[in-house]
Amino acid sequence: MAAPITTSAHGDHHEHGHDDHHELGFWQKYVFSTDHKWIGIQYGFTGLAFLLLGFCLMMVMRWQLAHPGEAVPVIGGMLRAIFGETVFGVDGKGAVGMLTADGYNTFGAMHGTIMVFFGVVPVAVAAFGNFAMPLQVGAPDMAFPKLNMASYWFFFVSCVIMLSSFFVAGSAAKSGWTSYPPLSILADHGPGVHPFFNGQTIWLLGMVFNITGSLLGSVNTIVTIVQLRAPGLTWMRLPFFVWTQLVTAFLLLLAFPPLEAAGFMQLFDRAFGTSFFMPTGLIVGGAATAWAGGGSPVLWQHLFWFLAHPEVYVLILPALGMVAEIIANNTRKPLYGYKAMVGAIFVLGFLSFVVWAHHMYMTGMGAKVAAFFQTTTVLISIPSVILITALLLSLWGGSIRFTVPMLFATTFLPMFGIGGLTGIPLAFNATDLYLHDTYYVIGHFHYVVAPGTIFAIFAGVYYWYPKASGRMLSETLGKWHFWLSLIFINGIFFPMFLQGMLGMHRRWYDGGATYEGLSHAYSMGKTGLEWNGFMATSAFLLGAAQLIFIFNFFWSLFYGKKAGRNPWDSTTLEWDTPTPPPHGNFDKEITVYRGPYEYSVPGASKDFSPQSEPPVGAPAPASASH
């Protein structure tokens, strides 16, 4: 990765007690770096690799759903060699590499876990947050650089732990990314499975490390934004991306710990035989279990969703931030409703803590509780709509440049719109009773995250890649990547709404083929299963389209068009640094004179006025004093 973090050349010799300016060795520069830009890149690489892994898990699952009981062609043998016999068995025709029921559940649980905690959050929150946010606030680094490095290494350890769970007896966790007891406590127990080093227990350990890294990172983010803003950078002059990172950090900070507590309790249940979540009188396989009982599986659900609902806003807010930056930049006009958007994300953040039980409508809650959560859930759609509407209105009257980042950013709007609108029937108890645990839910949340957040991530990569690497990604390849991804991603997820409304259940390894005969007459004799083939093909083609991106990413590092300081003619502070930025980031004293989106200001000499550019007639800023 050609992003040298050089120490700035300087000749001053005033008395200083800060870090010595010796050349850092390989380990300190590239492995244990305390520079936020390189840490961001580390998170980015790791996160993108996990996104790819999660995608591959999904492709195998899609194959199984489209061809139940058939071995995966060509690579079936290899898959069985890697993942073991629990996961890949032999099919009816004797071919090796059929995803077993346990294997499907394993892949499903790990797909969810990996995509959320090891893919999207590290990339959208940690990678972009670490790389771009300190630059955007005009800071020399994060507030606690060593803590930042420690956060990455906690995350890295959690990655190793999670990956290792695939290779223990019994394979990885298979009780859903939601890890509901009693199943999650009963799973991976018994003969042939190690009492401690089994998939589910390792999953819990991995989550504890992941959460710790996340918590330390959010402390760093908040302190950086509050304390290290450059002179003149008042709150209302902050780029919207910084606001979203601030609220996201708060969500992570306050919502993650109850899940850590719950994970701790589930570890106790598994390792010490306690019954925090095990109910009394459970009979498994005709016999009573070893657990005394007296606990409550619903308690886990409460603690889990207390985190996991704010978590979904953690997934979307940085995406909204990146999209906002790119839209302002590519319409050459300020964002519409900046103040309203800032207010909206705070309301959204606050409300996200009081809506969680809309994931639990089927747990036997009474009318009062259900009414409370329905109300708050519907309320939370208001700030979301404000945000999307403001972004849509930002396009009006703009001089739109359809660069690749802009293509992804504008597409984000209707895709997130579909995701959001399909959430409305799920918010209401009455309709959710029918749709809960069907493919409709899967379609809903994937629309928000996949053509939503992940498209925003692509937009962010295409946008900030020149600043990090000094080269532009190829526009042509980018456009191919965009159009193919857009078509195929809709091909996978749109039919899910139809399947869900037909009653097709989620998390069934044969897609419900066993229950095909139970279709009701009103579904016109259809089960939804007939879509699986189309969706699988879309998935494979979507995967192929990503190869274009991967090739573009690595090829452009060496052969891409060289980028200058500010290839997008943007106003925010990160573009006022050398490319790539050195250790300490800025080559001059930064003072902020204006808001973040001063594009097309009447009377200005160019169509953008950078935040740190002094007004006409003012003296030029001094060089950085170190």
Binding site: P140, A143, L215, L228, F256, F268, F272, F276, G294
Partner: protein, 311 residues
């Protein structure tokens, strides 16, 4: 390259970076222990009458531990004050006192309280067999006085009656852990001979209606409890009951936090002088921040102690 406001306060917020950072971290810790405490309330409210034990923890020892932590909190804040006034020797003295007090807390907990629990044994009697053990449980008496029903016989496990290959014998035990070992060897446990606690020795004595202040050692009275009458039996391990499960979870996590704090203090004690020579104000800030963390850990204990030991 300097990070601004590591020592001096930023004018508009009035804070230096680490001060803000530690309060944010403590806010997340509030939510962590909050999650566990909310689980405690949830489980206690959901527990059947008589299944949430009282008086099984040693109150005097718990009180002592509370006072030890309070003292350590005072010593660390005095250490910080000394450092702010550049009284380095006094600071080190108070820091050392804090470390010692913290270690004593852990020793009492891990060296006395937990092992004592692991030696203590309890059996829950099946509902249908309660009448047989009325002498030890006193449920009629409890009902007449409006007290909670009693389902458990607790004490020290003296002997077990075992059966193997049709032969019965009595085996003396040194600790409840031996039971599992015997089971692994193929013995079937027929009965437990327990030297019961005062409540089970004399259940109708009004003195035993509520747990007393002084921790009662088990009496000499031996009660035999037959395996067929037992719902479940174990030492006071996490799996014994919901009460012990959440007790060990919270005190265990709290203990880990104490350990973490001690590691930081030890590091300051041995390596603090370099930074003190270079930048004493920054050193004082570091001690302040570590002290804030330590006060928080004390604060959690201020709630853990009454909730588990007194209520």
């Amino acid at each position: 390259m300097e990070i601004p406001y590591t020592v001096s306060a930023r004018p508009d917020t009035g804070l230096y970076n680490a001060k803000l950072g530690i309060w944010l971290f403590l806010a997340s810790e509030v939510m962590l222990f909050g999650g566990l405490f909310s689980a405690y309330v949830f489980l206690r409210l959901g527990a059947e009458d008589g299944y949430w034990p009282h008086g099984l923890l040693d109150v005097p020892v718990g009180t002592l531990n509370t006072i030890i932590l309070i003292a350590s909190s005072i010593t660390i804040v005095l250490g910080w004050a000394a450092l702010k006034m550049r009284q380095y020797a006094k600071y080190r003295l108070f820091l050392l006192a804090t470390i010692i007090l913290g270690v004593v807390f852990l020793v009492i907990k891990l060296g006395y309280e937990y092992p004592a629990k692991f030696q203590h044994f309890g059996t829950f009697i099946k509902k249908e067999s309660l009448a047989e053990y009325e002498d030890s449980l006193g449920n009629d008496y409890a009902k007449s006085k409006g007290l909670a029903p009693r389902f458990e016989i607790t004490g020290h496990l003296h002997e077990v009656e075992v059966m193997k290959d049709g032969k019965t014998e009595e085996i003396t035990l040194h600790s409840p852990g031996d039971v599992d070992r015997l089971r692994a060897q193929g013995f079937q446990i027929e009965a437990y001979k327990i030297a019961v606690d005062p409540l089970n020795a004399d259940p109708t004595n009004p003195v035993n209606d509520r747990p007393g202040f002084l921790y009662h050692r088990s009496t000499e009275k031996i009660v035999t409890v037959h395996a067929k009458d037992i719902e479940r039996a174990s030492a006071f391990l996490p799996k014994h009951s919901q009460f012990f499960a959440i007790y060990y979870a919270i005190t265990g996590l709290h203990g880990l936090h104490i350990l973490g704090g001690l590691i930081v203090f030890v590091y300051f004690f041995f390596y603090g002088h370099t930074l003190y020579r270079k930048n004493p104000e920054q050193m004082a800030n570091r001690v302040e921040v570590a002290g804030l963390y330590w006060h928080f850990v004390d604060l959690v204990w201020v709630f853990v102690f009454p909730v588990f030991y007194l209520l």
